[in-house]
Amino acid sequence: MTDTPAPRHIPDRLDKPLSSAIFSWEALLVAVAVAIFAINSFASPYFLDPWSLSDLTFNFTEKALIALAMALLIISGEIDLSVAAIIALASTMMGMAVQAGAGMPALVAIGIVVGLGCGAFNGLLVTRLGLPSIVVTIGTMSLFRGIAFIILGDQSYKGYPSSFAFFGQGYVWWVVSFELALFLVAAVIYWFVLHRTSFGRRVFAIGNNPVAAQFSGVRVDRIKFILFCLTGLMSGIASVLITSRLGSTRPSIAQGYELEVITMVVLGGVSILGGAGSIGGVVLAAFIMGLVTFGLGLLNVPGIVMSIFIGLLLIIVIALPIVWRRLRRERFA
């Protein structure tokens, strides 16, 4: 209303405290990861075994691949709750293709293309119709999995070719699985895109203020559409991996993965309100979740205790920056 700057404390750069919080957050994540690793090694004689550590990575690689794209989407201020349903639909389509006699390359292509298509469908609904992404993807979550259930019912598809098993069960070198290698390569690519390209800067700009970004010449809808496609693509890739790992398809495949993916992203320090976050944090969060669940699993701790642990971690992550900012503000007041 008035153009006179208020005497109250209004920071001229909003991103400063946020970004510094993120930096310290990543440092904290590293500390947590190291601590959990050390505790696991002490607590179980079986933990420090190359094959155990290799098996551990299977607990999170598929979800973590999706988390990379989801991080960008959440930074841009959108969300996709349909990722697990996309896995189910892509897996069902691959299963149908197997029944029709498709070979390994065709299966991989079908999984990826179906994922991409589902992502594009989400993106179109959000950007063309201007619907909130949380509403759209709650809808498509039921839609995609519903189609899988209609096709499969209580049946399952199996009989995937043996060459297809490599993606979810194979190793590229010694104990380094294909899934882990793919995740690490994808993490580097996503890190580069988000933190080293103008595309990445635009994603942050949209998340901080979509209107300002639009007026600055950023094609907001187009970038959001691309991000939905990327999330679909990664879900398609994850579908190939998990279908290969399980060697079969049921419509209930990957049930509940969407929440675990989003947990990873938020635990990695990505602001659920958009505008802040880093790929490094998400990668660390993926490893932490894998370490926690596998470490507790080695001690045969019931799964519900693991859920409590992850839940507490998540609440701390979300509450900490807010509490910290409030404390700062009170000091200035």
């Binding site: 601590a35 959990i36 004689p45 399952s156 399980l246 060697g247 495949i253 596998f294 019931p302 519900i304």
Partner: protein
Amino acid sequence: MSILRKLMVMAALSAAMFVNAAYADNVKIALVVKSLGNGFFDAANKGAEEAAKELGDVDIIYTGPTKATAEAQIEVVNSLIAQKVDAIAISANDADALVPALKKAMDRGITVISWDSGVAPEGRQLHLNPSDTGLIGETIIKLAADYLPEGGEVAILSASSTATNQNAWIDAAKKVLPEKFPKIKLVATVYGDDDSAKSTDEAKGLLKSYPNLKAIIAPTTVGVVAAAQVVTDEGLIGKVNVTGLALPSEFKKFIDNGASQAVALWNPIDLGYSAVYLAHDLAVKKEEAKPGATLSIGRVGKVTLDDTNSAAMAPPFQFDKTNIEKFSKIY
């Protein structure tokens, strides 16, 4: 400060676990269930512990995921492989999806058997059925038919649509219907996913959609309680008979209040007991699991493997007003 706090929490947690981690050189047999917090599987664990005591040199690891999904169960299997257990006895959430993980376990020298809910033959050395699929299918229909001399409409409230055993029983039930129970009309099969809330909704839906329904058959311990509660709440006792497979301790009040005339179940204690004996036979006594082989299951007797290396333990056991009191105290 928050790092410190987290470290303290984790240190406390792990300290508590050191106690569990200290196992002697005993044979480690893992009893893997579909999900924890299920009375049926807790009873099976009782039997497993009983068998361990008899065998002397066995430690039981009773474990399973919180969510009854194949993916979560694979994570459990992976952690058991890493712990180098001697045998895994699993009740599977999915007959096919567990196969690669269990194959890996066998590749690393672990004895793998399935019990209750089976795994495809290539993923295990043998499978112990609690009973015979055909007999169970017939029993669940008979439980309803015995109290419907005039016949009528019945519906099935099952567990999840992917549950291996429930699907097999329902198929068997459908097979015996036309010849043995011509007056019984199966009008619907719905799935409550072994979730109390969902099973309750599905049971209510059945009563709305089929006003002439005479019986709800729930071949799952979760579904049968939900259905009986719905029938009780809606004042339909005497009109709709709930039956199926139920744990006596959980279900006693519905036999008492008349919502159900009779239910059946095999003895889960015997099932856990027999599974541990079979795992011990293969892992320690090095007996071979092949078609036609006869294996000992302690006080329960002996089982003979069929062409797919499967064996049936015993026929289902019926509970009604005359004996529910006694069995509700056991499990």
